[in-house]
Symmetry: C2
């Protein structure tokens, strides 16, 4: 497996991380995601990590990097499905997921992204889909 | 990785298959899916296979089995994201995915499931959520 599939659903891209991340895979995911944001004009990225038993500093950095790049492309990143044990470890390690919002599960994550999109009609990011209003 | 995560989104369960399936994993997926259909009352199962480079008879049987069990539990299964090469091989091998509908991508698959749910308000499967009408 050399690519993690990205599902497009409305204005949101959904990624489920199921395999151990390594350098090349992480880079490929970031590239694919940014290319897909640019192509589809997606405003939200939802990353589901319920399968991950460990979030170490490598994965943490990868997530922060994806979120930062996505933000530049005007898409918000939400992390969903984090296991409680992973959350505890993150806090203990002092790893901060700067710029990433979290949600308990995919449904709440989608609601979060939807609320954000509904809320910033007049915001800085709205010129992108200016055709609509 | 011993479990494939199942994402619940509204009345649909979404599964992305990214790893090579083996016996135990396929069985676990079927168990998890049926348990989740029973628990959540989901009416649709969407299986995304864009990462699969091969669908052999083992995976074919697994998909057919998941669809059959889901149908007994009153949930429809849609297969989304099949690669063109996989489709060609399926036809050449004469593998029939009995009882499984297919869609080009997740978005169309969701639309298919939505249309099915909207269309069978008076159908055989509607006694399950009889509270609503």
């Amino acid at each position: 497996m050399d690519r993690i599939p990205i599902l497009k659903l409305g204005g949101t891209l959904i990624v489920t991380i199921q395999v151990d991340m390594h350098d090349r895979l992480a880079l490929a995911l970031e590239e694919d995601l940014t290319a897909m944001i640019a192509r589809t004009g997606a405003r939200g990225v939802l990353i589901e990590i319920s399968a991950l038993e460990i979030v170490d500093s490598f994965i943490g950095r990868m997530l922060v990097s994806i979120a930062a790049v996505s933000r530049v492309l005007d898409a918000e990143t939400v992390l969903a499905g984090m296991r409680p044990a992973v959350a505890i470890t993150l806090v203990e390690l002092g790893l901060e997921l700067t710029g990433i919002r979290t949600a308990l599960n995919v449904e709440r994550g989608m609601a979060l992204l939807k609320a954000r999109l509904a809320g910033d009609g007049a915001g800085y990011g709205s010129d992108r889909d200016g055709l609509e209003d």
